[in-house]
Amino acid sequence: MGNTNHPDSAALKSGGTGNVAVNWLRRNLAPIIAVLALCVALSITTNTFLVSTNLLSLLRQSCVNVLIAFGITCVLICGGIDLSVGSCAAAAGVITVRLANAGLPLVVCILTALVFGALLGLFNGYVISHTTIPPFIVTLSTQIIIRGVGYVVTGGQPTQCTNETFNLIGTGDLFGIPTPVFVVAFVFIVLFFIMNRTGFGRHVYATGGNAEAAKYAGVNTKSVQMRVFMMSGMLAALAGVVLAARLYSGQPSVGEGFERDAIAASVLGGTSFNGGVGTLGGTVVGALIIGVLNNGMNLLRINSYWQFVVRGCVILGAVYIDYLKKARTLKK
């Protein structure tokens, strides 16, 4: 079902021919047009959309989803799926806040949370790569387990953060730009190099594209899978840290359904469910579609019930248009 490698969507056409950016633009035309069209429509229909504060907070809003979606994108490219990101984010937030309240230096708190995410991801990746249990089941299980552990440890209660510096990570500004945007930009650059300019990155694409061939070419596919799930765990943990900073507290109950939004962002941005295909830039665009859509519907005062309907239709519609475009290229 739905097994095709879209010939024009490989993220890998770098090198050799001219402009990488142009290629990327061409490949992601559909989502980019979608997000621009949404923006134009909202700028016309509302006078509150095209306002710098609104746009900036839209960016800030999207950051948590983008961070998680980066991890999901890498996992999807590698042929997997990760449903544990929401629980991981919640747990990481709790960890950071508790440590920060205990007076530890912020760097230590955040690193500890990241290590937690990495270990969770490592566990997922280890089980997935060393058995034939599908990633869906493994990460669904860890999702439930980590959620439970979070509740057990906290007694279900949020922890208010008393460290004001920490909160700035989520709520602060730098040169008028929200801090989380810098976090995302930094992560994007690092990941971009990892995915596009290192052997490991190529191996992720290869493992997702054809694991057998990758193995025959000497790629240690198990290690690649483990490292990708580790990345996803770490990114989810980072998202949890940013979220906790925005909420001024570590909350064990947040993050439910985060994987859903992140998957939607990845897929809207052209990442394939069959592995081997996807770009981080596309994911940013996908997350922006979701962000602009939610923001716009609120500004347009669309009834909350109808928002569900619109959101579902937009996801399906966008993916369908992308499919049509690819089907046409295929025919040519």
Partner: protein, 500 residues
């Protein structure tokens, strides 16, 4: 200690569970030697090579390169020891570019530790040019024909500057022209003192390019001979373990009245194909790779859309827009990709065998177990499929036996027209002979067969008439009663047809 051998594999043992696949096998190869590795399906050839290539580990035994014992635990180890591998199954990542596939697992790095894109593309370009492959290095693999992909794999392996190159059935999906390209490369490598291990089921290739030949049977080493001293018959009897007369022993089928007429058939690839098929004949389809033979079959079977043209069977015009309709019209297709298109590998032989005739024993929510069992045993015996039981998974069978399952599956549906697309690809001599025999028997029973094959001897020896295709057109139908037939003549039509 310098050795006269580039490669020695000594006393290799290997079992998968309780299945002993290699049993004390040793081979040694000198620099510049081309060694054929022959044996029936499942003899253990690929397994032996995968041990050398670092994909499997031997249970026992040692490997020496240039006289020095080496440990090969990973693909990387193999590569470092100068071993490169063209796998039996095409193994590339379709969503990645040619250059990226070329350097997968051995990406060149810049000083900063990032991938050196420029070097990657430059080197790939050079390797492609050497093989005469005219494709941009940043093209994705997706959409390339199997033959092209195979050529790329060959270019990739040759490019590694290896001491030992393993070629596991490199020509299985190549036609003559490409095979010749490959042989030219083999000669060049030989001059560079590279040792080559060449696995193929095509006997004539063995004699053409190989210096020596090692035969395996049931995982045991049977013997090594110089090709100059060996005969075809000798090798075959070594492989099958008994005297063997003739592969092409069957008398040629002669057609009766016209059964099927194809008039002006056009599809996305096929252009204006017209031919008649007689009752009980074997119509061979020859042509270069990409000539559109498979596409003709796909159109006739309702998988590719027919844009224009008519198909008549037994004087009645039939409309074919889906495989279901084709089957109803009496057409059966044994596809070229056995595993991908022909079989449910995760299901039992029984399920596969009976798939086309479910109606005969399942009706009104009842399964007539007796009838089902009868059907299964009929075809089990008819084709002498070697298996543990009918409940064995098809995926566990050797290639030849898998092919027999596919053919039986279709025979059960009692087709009038049986299309066989590359029916003997990757199948050992014993199984080949059985399939030829089967074709002959079927045509005697009045089944008309269309046989698509890239092996010219197979075409020439089994066909009643030979249709030659070139670039989507059917350029000539050769009739032995009228025309002279030889490999050269067929090739000239296959090539010239395209020049018109």
């Amino acid at each position: 200690m310098p050795s006269e051998y580039t490669l020695e594999m000594n006393n290799i043992f290997k079992s998968f569970g309780s299945n002993k696949v290699l049993d004390d096998v040793s081979i040694s190869i000198k620099p510049g030697e081309v060694r054929a590795l022959m044996g029936e399906n499942g003899a253990g050839k690929s397994t032996l090579m995968k041990i050398l290539g670092g994909i499997y580990h031997a249970d026992q035994g040692n490997i020496k390169i240039d006289g020095e014992a080496v440990q090969i635990n990973t693909v990387d180890d193999a590569r470092r020891n100068g071993i490169s591998f063209i796998h039996q199954e095409i193994s590339n990542v379709p969503s990645m570019t040619i250059a990226e596939n070329f350097f997968l697992g051995k990406e060149p790095k810049t000083k900063a530790g990032l991938i050196d894109q420029r070097k990657m593309h430059r080197d790939t370009r050079a390797a492609l040019d050497l093989m005469g492959i005219d494709l941009p290095t940043n093209r994705q693999i997706t959409g390339l024909s199997i033959a092209k992909q195979q050529m790329l794999e060959i270019a990739r392996a040759i490019n590694e500057n290896a001491k030992v190159i393993i070629m596991d059935e490199p020509t299985a999906s190549l036609a003559k022209a490409e095979v010749e390209d490959l042989f030219r490369q083999v000669k060049m490598l030989k001059e560079k003192n590279v040792a080559i291990i060449y696995i193929s089921h095509r006997m004539e290739e063995t004699f053409l390019v190989c210096d020596t030949v090692t035969v395996l049977r049931d995982g045991k080493f049977i013997g090594t001979k110089n090709t100059s001293e060996a005969t075809e018959k000798e090798l075959i009897s070594m492989m099958v373990g008994r005297k063997f007369d003739e592969i092409y022993g069957q008398e040629r089928a002669v057609g009766g009245e016209t059964l099927m007429q194809v008039k002006g058939l056009c599809s996305k690839v096929v252009k204006d194909v017209t031919f008649d098929l007689k009752k009980g004949e074997v119509l061979g389809f020859a042509g270069l790779v990409g000539a559109g033979r498979t596409e003709t079959a796909l159109a006739l079977f309702g998988i590719d859309k027919i844009h224009s043209g008519e198909v008549w069977i037994e004087g009645k015009k039939v409309s074919i827009s889906s495989p279901k309709e084709a089957i109803r019209a009496g057409i059966a297709l044994v596809p070229e990709d056995r595993k991908g298109q022909g079989l449910f590998l995760g299901h039992s032989i029984a399920v596969n065998l009976t798939f086309q005739v479910l109606k005969e024993f399942i009706n009104n929510l009842r399964i007539n177990r007796k009838k089902e069992a009868n059907l299964i045993s009929t075809y089990q015996n008819k084709l002498s499929i070697r298996m543990a039981s009918v409940n064995q998974m098809v995926g566990e069978l050797s290639g030849g036996n898998q092919q027999k399952v596919v053919i039986s599956k279709w025979l059960a549906s009692k087709p009038k027209v049986l299309i066989l697309d590359e029916p003997t690809r990757g199948i050992d001599v014993g199984a080949k002979a059985e399939i030829y025999k089967l074709m002959s028997d079927l045509s005697k029973e009045g089944v008309s067969i269309i046989m698509i094959s890239s092996e010219l001897p197979e075409i020439i020896n089994n066909s009643s008439r030979i249709a030659v295709m070139s670039e989507g057109r059917l350029v000539k139908i050769l009739d032995p009663d009228v025309d002279e037939i030889s490999q050269e003549i067929i090739m000239s039509y296959a090539v010239e047809g395209g020049n018109k």
